[in-house]
Symmetry: C2
Subunit: 243 residues, 2 copies
DNA sequence: AAACATTAAATGTAAGACATATGAAAATCG
DNA sequence: CGATTTTCATATGTCTTACATTTAATGTTT
């Protein structure tokens, strides 16, 4: 871990990489305290600011946490799914917005992934998940709802579906795909009739999940994907024509 | 974006968050140059090292890149799928190793996600993808192969399958799930008979993809999942008994 | 013995300096 | 005049030193 070529560029990046590798390879255990900044500076033969820049890089990835005071220092973080999700969502969102990913492509990916959760969710969903889904459906049918709030509720509904699979790995991976769609969905204006159709499809999904019918859940999701795609298509076509 | 409460703690984190929000909200465009470190220090009323720590945090997330020299500075990065994948893989790997995720759970998630790609891959796969899959199968059947190389080839095979779906969003999301399994797979020793069974299943998958048969692809994947799970189960049971 | 003050160790921040890379302008030469 | 070289300004990369702040352990006093 003390490797550091005499290439005098990107020292902080090199140090960050060295520490990161040590964490990944198991050389540093969870909750283990790193040497103090001064000690690290001496070990790597650099100044303290350089060490600090390296540590901040690791902190940005939630690989370490720092604590001030007498017994303080930098500690290896237990990377939790909860902590990793916001970052995953941020990255996914930026990937979509910066790479001109079409609504169609993102939507296709999202529903393909959700269908992967369907059989598991149908088997394992708890009453809690069902209650969340029903509550979100109820919220979506309220009249005064803004388009943004409607989309947010849509996301919550789908996350409950995904969480119903009872697999944290799936929930983590899907969080990015589901949440990153929200900005794209927010570009759509939903008429009352649109909302009614979507809510009906949501009810179909909830019913299928409740009945623990995997096949019905999958086909209901496909129907919702179809509806979303055609809706988006018409909205974007109208917007393009208006120009 | 110049908001900064007089809370005198985590200044660099606050500054990083402010710039990050500006990027996400579109206040800073791709390839746009940020103010110089000295200017930022003045704007936020902090010292240059503090600004630098903030910038390093953003660089760790590939949100910005820096360039030295006269026309240098920090530029907003176009976050590409290629750049985001390694980070996604690192995070996924650490999540599995640090949270005592069972082989069963990770394997279930991986194959559920891969089955999501199956219909699309069966439809859209190019000869290139097929060739890669066949080549990896061939490699796996070579005699002198180490277990690690066998697992690496397995990952390459599955990534070709995922990429065959022709959806960059899917490829990105799946990369984490597929690659993160490798350390877990490396804990298994594959006998010659194990390998033969896996290779046969791989051939079944490749055949189904070549025939553009979505249903056959999905069921072949399910068979492979079964095989992997029972294999892992017996290996771990034997290891537990030996103690 | 309990409450309080002191101290030490660590991170957080600041300020100034120098090194280095790099593009552009200026000077020089053919 | 044009091409090449030199110079220079600007920005990041790094080092040094210093001080502020937080926090727990230690010591002291009542």
């Amino acid at each position: 871990m003390k490797i550091d070529p005499d290439n005098p560029a990107d020292l902080s990046a090199q140090i960050a990489a060295a520490i990161r590798d040590a964490i990944i390879s198991g050389g540093l255990i969870v909750d283990e305290r790193l040497p103090s900044e001064a000690e690290l500076a001496e070990q790597f033969d650099v100044s303290r600011p350089t060490v600090r820049e390296a540590l901040k890089r690791l902190a940005a990835q939630s690989l370490i946490r720092t604590q001030r005071g007498a017994t303080g220092g930098a500690f290896v973080n237990r990377l939790s799914f909860e902590a990793a999700q916001p970052q995953q969502i941020t990255t996914s969102t930026l990937l979509l917005s910066m790479n001109a990913v079409s609504f169609e492509t993102a939507c296709e990916a999202r529903y393909a992934l959700e269908r992967a959760c369907a059989p598991l969710a149908a088997t394992r969903r708890t009453p809690d998940h069902l209650a969340t889904m029903r509550a979100e459906i109820h919220r979506q049918s309220q009249p005064g709802l803004t388009d943004e709030a409607f989309c947010a509720s849509d996301v919550a509904f789908h996350r409950a579906l995904v969480d119903g699979a009872g697999n944290p790995v799936l929930s983590y991976q899907l969080a990015g795909a589901v949440e990153a769609m929200q900005p794209l969905m927010n570009m759509i204006t939903f008429t009352a009739r649109d909302r009614a159709r979507i809510i009906a499809l949501h009810e179909g999904i909830a019913d299928a999940i409740e009945a623990q019918d995997a096949a019905a859940t999958a086909s209901a999701l496909t129907a919702l994907e179809q509806e979303t795609q055609t809706l988006a298509h018409s909205v974007f076509a109208a917007r393009a024509a208006r120009r």
